[in-house]
Symmetry: C2
Subunit: 300 residues, 2 copies
Amino acid sequence: MFGVTILGNNSAIPAFDRHPTAQVVTLNDQLFLFDCGEGTQMQFSHYKIRRSRINHIFISHLHGDHYFGLMGLLTSYGLLSRQTDLHLYGPALLKPIIDLQLQAASTTLPYQLHFHPIEKEGMLVDDKKFTVECFSTRHRIECWGFIVREKKKPRRINKAEIVKYDIPAVYYERLQEGADYINKDGSVVKNDSVTLATTPSKSYAFAADTIYDESLAEKVKGVSLLYHETTYLKDLHERAALRFHSTTVEAAAIALKAGVGNLLIGHFSSKYELLDEFLDEARSVFPNTQLALEGSTYTI
Amino acid sequence: MFGVTILGNNSAIPAFDRHPTAQVVTLNDQLFLFDCGEGTQMQFSHYKIRRSRINHIFISHLHGDHYFGLMGLLTSYGLLSRQTDLHLYGPALLKPIIDLQLQAASTTLPYQLHFHPIEKEGMLVDDKKFTVECFSTRHRIECWGFIVREKKKPRRINKAEIVKYDIPAVYYERLQEGADYINKDGSVVKNDSVTLATTPSKSYAFAADTIYDESLAEKVKGVSLLYHETTYLKDLHERAALRFHSTTVEAAAIALKAGVGNLLIGHFSSKYELLDEFLDEARSVFPNTQLALEGSTYTI
């Protein structure tokens, strides 16, 4: 299972029962939280998210609609006697903001909170089965997007074929990694004659808040699913640019240029009650587009 | 109209769709906000609170469930282009917490935010028609309760009676304030023979978070309505004391000792889904008790 569940799809002012940004990525038994707008812990309850499985939280930037729910979540974990380490990634200023509020409450968290200030583009987490990288986006303040990638999966041994060759079992792991086998006489058993491909590794890019920026396409190139904000419909592209946000067709243009599999759009301005036009406009440029709807999970 | 609307009645961990503490007091055309737990701005929308009428916000203490919704509210006011001054009262440390987060977001509020650090018990607001005082409560950290009092209303001129006396109209205002009228010949027209009493002035005390503390009764003596926390049922009085909270019968004992008109109880622990027992236990000591239910307004 690799999917993203939307907990908040609205821009800064909550409206029409839409909440500020928060997304939970599920990768098998791991949960990652991307941004944590006000009310995220209530959304966890509402949508039955298993919050105790979250060990990594990523905060894109320090506009309130992307992190004002973080302190509530961190302190609730404490009240719930969490013991497991928690890793938090975000702009450096997030640390003193957290520390000051813990200090004001005379609170010590009962678990280890490891804060990793984001300083440059690149790898944030390099796990056995996945990686998380960050990239900068162009917004009014320092802002980061994130990409979760499954690691390349081992090829499967083709049991029906491998019996035809005299390959020692200790060599199987290298076959699964894609190596050919060379016999003592120098003849070669090509890898794909004794192994089978597995499903390709998938990837999810969360591009946070951003103005239309063509260079973003390179950063998210070829991901399976791209989340790109669409604060406004296309007629308001000037307002979008002024506020360092994007429109529907701009997000779709990035998806097209980046050659992604699917596009997910959200961060809708509170000036819009209905969202149908967002979908229509984006699909006119990039057909594989879906609206990020709260409570919905999108398979990656 | 003088009433209090409950927006959050739960203790620290949100549960059963109950929210952290926030209460809106309506006094004619004025709204006051007491505490501002996470999600308060969403509760405003949900219960159609006219947020633009709030010019005074009071924060009892810096445990997150009493103020983690404040930054969201302050910045949303900004995004909604609020122009009216806003007065904020709370522990001194609240100021750097707000400033640091505004700075991190590179945000300047478009309205004047006047922060009034609470330093001692006494008068916070002295308006023509009402006052707001604060008093300290005994909690794990610095904590303040608040009392809103209508000012004594002017007596009404008794038109049927006053015609019998030769009292100049310029003296009417003093009659309304309760003065007698003295004729030139030294004879006295007693005030109550030419004026009528108005409804007595009402008062509301919000006693925030507190351990059972008999001295509180003196501080909230005789108010029309007292809100007192009841985090636990009476069997958990030891846990309550350990955590500087109160039980049902403790809150009711304070109400009884203080001779208040009515008691409102809330700040229920997330260990309780049903609240009936809270009401039963409190009423066994102080019959005029009501549960603070979200979305309900209690006339003062």
